[in-house]
Every structure is written in C-alpha cells, then in structure tokens.
C-alpha cells in the first residue's frame, strides 16, 4: 500500500516535471495548462489516472528527448539531503554522507569537500561543484554579511564557521 502511494506520488512528480520542460520548449497549450492546474490542486489523486494510458504514452513519446536532454546535464550526479538544514540538492558522483558543502569567497557555485584527517592535522579533499537548493542565490552569504531577519536560522547555523579557512589537499 505504502509503495503504491510512493509510486503514484512519483508518477505525479514526473508528469509535472515533463510538463514544465514541455512548456519551456513548446509553449503551453490551453488543455495542458488546465490539466496542470488540476494536478496542482489535487496532487495525491493527480490527473494521471484521468489522463488515460494512450494519451500519456503519446505525450511521453513527444517529450522524452526534451526530458532526456535536461537529465543528461545531471548524469552521474548524486542527489543528497543535508544534515542540519535538510537542504536538498545534487552533488558529484562520489558524494557520501559526511561530505560538506562550502561556499568559497568569490566562487560561482558551491563546492563539495570531504573532511580528512592525517596525523592530527585536518584538511579537506576537493570533490567537485554541487547544486544545493536554497543557497544558490546568496541566501547563506547574505546571512553572513547582513543580519537579515528571514535568514536568521541560517545565520545562527553558520556563525561559528564564519570565514573558515579550508585547507585543501
């Protein structure tokens, strides 16, 4: 029962995702747009059932290459969840629990590092860039420089490590 619910939920998400991409590429048709609104109001029951199997296949045949292009960029990326803030994102293939997300000064993307210790001194191993939803537009950095009320939780979170030095090896 639980797995059925999960599967339906995933089917709903993937349909939503396909439509977003399709909309971006083809422009929105009225029918699809209204179907999407239905889905948004009724996500659990979704319109997947209502859509009909043949229609669904047809739409997927049309949009699969588009969706594929988008996913190709994310090939070999590993989705993750962070410990303290529950942030969601995708990191390099090697990402594993315990790795950390850092923002270097002046950097254009967040990076994933792996803490290492060697004979009492600690350092980081550089992995690769990461996408971490919720910090991509300077939210975490804003909490650092200006005490913005809406970012207070993050600020408290980060204040102890403000401007740390990261020794990469």
């Amino acid at each position: 029962m639980e797995s059925m619910r999960k599967l339906r939920r995933a089917a709903y998400l993937i349909e939503l995702w396909r439509r977003i991409i399709s909309e971006l590429q083809n422009g929105t048709s009225i029918e699809e747009n209204s179907a999407m609104q239905e889905m948004q109001t009724d996500p659990e029951l979704g319109s997947m059932e209502r859509l009909g199997a043949s229609m669904k296949t047809l739409l997927w045949q049309r949009d699969a290459p588009l969706c594929g292009n988008r996913l190709e960029v994310m090939r070999d990326k590993r989705p993750f969840r962070t410990k303290e803030m529950g942030l969601y994102g995708v990191g390099p293939r090697l990402t594993q629990p315990g790795d950390v997300i850092v923002l270097f000064r002046g950097a254009w993307t967040p990076y994933m590092l792996r803490p290492r210790g060697d004979r009492g001194e600690s350092y980081f191993e550089f992995l690769r860039e990461a996408y971490c939803h919720g910090i991509m537009d300077g939210e975490a950095a804003a909490g650092q420089s200006q005490k913005n009320a809406s970012h207070l939780k993050i600020t408290r979170q980060l204040i102890t490590v403000h401007n740390s030095n990261f020794a990469l090896r």
């Binding site: 699969a64 962070t82 410990k83 803030m85 990402t95 950390v100």
Partner: protein, 366 residues
C-alpha cells in the same frame, strides 16, 4: 627543449615569421614572445617555447595567422612586397610566398575545426590597436579563462609531447602572464605535477581565477610524456589541481550554456573576492581558501542515469520514474534535527523539479 633562437627572432622581428615558417611547430612560442608580447614592451623575460612538435598543424596555422595580423607579421609582409621594391632577393621572396600559401591553406582547413578560443584570441589581436592590448583595456584574456576554454571540453583540443607545455605554451597567448609569475622551466626537476600545481595556484590567485575549481575531476588522470597516461604524476596531484586535459564541462557551465549563456547562480552574493591564504607550513600541496561551511551531507541516493538509452522501448516514463521514486525517498527522510527551514520555503513539489533542472526554468521565467 627550450629554443634559444627565439630570442634572436625577437630582436630581429622580420625574422620571426621566417622562423615560425621553418619551424612550424614552434610558432606558438614565437608568437608569445615574438609578436603579441613584444608589442606590449620590449621583451625582457625569457620566452616560452614549445617542445618538439607539441602543437598540431591546425594550431600552428592559426598561430601563424595571428602572427600575420600583428606587428611582426606586418613587418614581414612589408618585406614580402612585390620584388624589386625591397631588398629581398627574388628567389627568397618566391620561397616565402610559397610557404605562406601553404600555411594559408592549412589555416583555411583549420578554420572550421574546434578551435574557437584561438580564433577568438586572433580576432582580439586583429581588432585591437597594439597599445590597447595592455592589461585593463578590455582586451583581457587571462590564463584562467584560456585554460577554461581549452580544457573544459568533452573532446581533446590540445596536444603536447611535453605535458608541461599544456601550461607553458599558453603563457604566450594569455594577457596576464606578467602577474602570474609562472616560470617556464623545462629541467627534469620541474615534474608535471609541480608545474600544474604552480600554475593552478597562480591562476587561483588571479582575478576570477577561482573558476579553475570547475576543472578538477575524479579519478585524476594526467597525460604524461608522449601522450601516455602518467599514473605516478596523477597520484602526486593534490585534489584541487586539475590534470589540464579535456574535462567534461561542469554542470553549472552546461546549464549556463543551455540558458543563453547566462550564469544562473550567485551563491556567495556579496562576499568579497576569492582569497588564498598562504600556508604557514609551506606545503605546496595544501591550498587554503576562505569560505563558509554550509552544511554536511547526511543522506544520498542513487546517481542520475542521464538520458534514456537509445533504442529503449520504454517511451521514457518508466525510465525516469525510477529517478523520481528516489527523490521521493529522500524527501521522506527527516533530518536528525531540522534546525532551520529552507529560506524561501519552496513547496515540496516545486523543489523536486527545480532541483532536477538546476533551476534553469525559473530563471527563464523571471
């Protein structure tokens, strides 16, 4: 194999073209010292030379055309004006022009190949008056950018017999060589990893150089002498130093390209520019950067498989459904102590597709 005669060629500019013609593979080195650099100031520093046939013919022909466009080239062209008008003997003139025709043919063949960045440099050289190449006049092409353009690519674009030339040969092409302080030293003491380390450090310390961190990949591979993989050097390379070979594009860069070449993210907002802290222990393998530790990872799931394999009977739905069930699994997990919420409280459904698209769509619409 540094070639001392480049200095000679620099002093007598009209001979620079001659040398680059007879020693075609060395053109890039002579370009660096003989033409574009010597326009800036009379050349004092030792010039960088390329090793034996390190640059392929396409690269050379492009470099050759750059020379033609620059001062040394124009001087040489003047030499090659119709016979009788100059002091060039008839037979030498004919030999030169024959060579040039050959080079031009090569150049035409290379024009439509994958060397945009060199053509870009050439265009810059062409469109710029000589004295505006000086730094800060909009003609900047720093080494960091050049390295990104040449090595951030799926297919190899650069070949070198001596792998150190993957850095050294570019020094003559970039515009910030003076600030970088990279010594072109071809002695055996300068191992590949030392050269790459030194170059990476120099680039990271330059303006905008932090983007070099888009290049390092795992597992580390280094192309050694003669194009053979050098595993020992790869092992000695610190994790933050790239192997300066062709690296697949970083996904952020791919996304930026997909959305009309706009860079989508500014995660550090107004944080000051990159800062490298000099390591007190003097260990060159360690790079110290300033930054913020955001959070640590507690859960991961299967990697994304990319696009649906060609020839699959599934129309895509089933294939991608697998990804989305994994996303759902991650959502189902509660963090240990959820101390903070997402700053912008993105709805859960929206989060799912925004993350998977790298937020490209949102940027499109806003």
């Amino acid at each position: 194999m540094p070639r001392a005669y480049f200095m000679e060629a620099v002093d007598q500019r009209s001979r620079s073209l001659h040398y680059s013609c007879t020693h075609g593979w060395a053109a890039l080195g002579s370009l660096g010292s003989g033409s574009s650099k010597s326009i800036l100031s009379p050349l004092k520093a030792p010039c960088s030379s390329c090793g034996d046939k390190i640059i392929d013919a396409k690269l050379f022909s492009l470099a050759h055309s750059v020379i033609l466009m620059t001062f040394a080239g124009r001087r040489a062209l003047a030499l090659l004006s119709p016979p009788g008008g100059t002091n060039v003997p008839q037979d030498e003139y004919e030999a030169q022009s024959k060579r040039m025709t050959e080079q031009n043919k090569l150049f035409d063949a290379a024009r439509d190949s994958c060397l945009e960045s060199l053509s870009r440099l050439r265009r810059r050289c062409q469109s710029m008056p000589a004295d505006s190449i000086k730094k800060g006049n909009g003609g900047d092409y720093p080494l960091g950018e050049l390295v990104q353009d040449l090595y951030s690519t799926e297919t190899p674009r650069v070949m070198a017999t001596d792998p150190r030339d993957r850095i050294f040969a570019l020094l003559g092409l970039c515009t910030d060589r003076g600030e970088l302080e990279i010594l072109t030293d071809y002695t055996d003491a300068q191992t590949i990893d030392l050269v790459y380390n030194q170059a990476s450090r120099a680039i990271l310390g330059s303006k905008g150089g932090i983007r070099l961190l888009e290049l390092p990949r795992f597992p580390k591979t280094v192309i050694g002498h003669g194009g053979v993989a050098d595993e020992a050097a790869a092992k000695r390379l610190p994790s933050w130093v790239p192997g300066f070979k062709h690296h697949p594009r970083s996904f952020a860069r791919s996304l930026a390209e997909a959305s009309r070449n706009q860079w989508l993210y500014s995660p550090v907002g107004k944080l000051p520019k990159a800062e490298i802290i000099i390591n007190s222990s003097g260990d060159l393998r360690i790079l110290s950067l300033r930054g913020i530790l955001v959070d640590s990872i507690c859960f991961t799931n299967e990697t994304w498989k990319g696009a649906i394999p060609a020839g699959s009977k599934d129309a895509g739905h089933g294939f991608y459904l697998h990804h989305f069930t994994e996303v759902e699994e991650l959502y189902g997990i509660s963090p240990d102590e959820p101390r903070g919420k997402l700053p912008n409280d993105t709805p859960r459904d929206e989060l799912a597709y925004r993350v998977m698209l790298g937020d490209v769509i949102y940027e499109h619409n806003s």
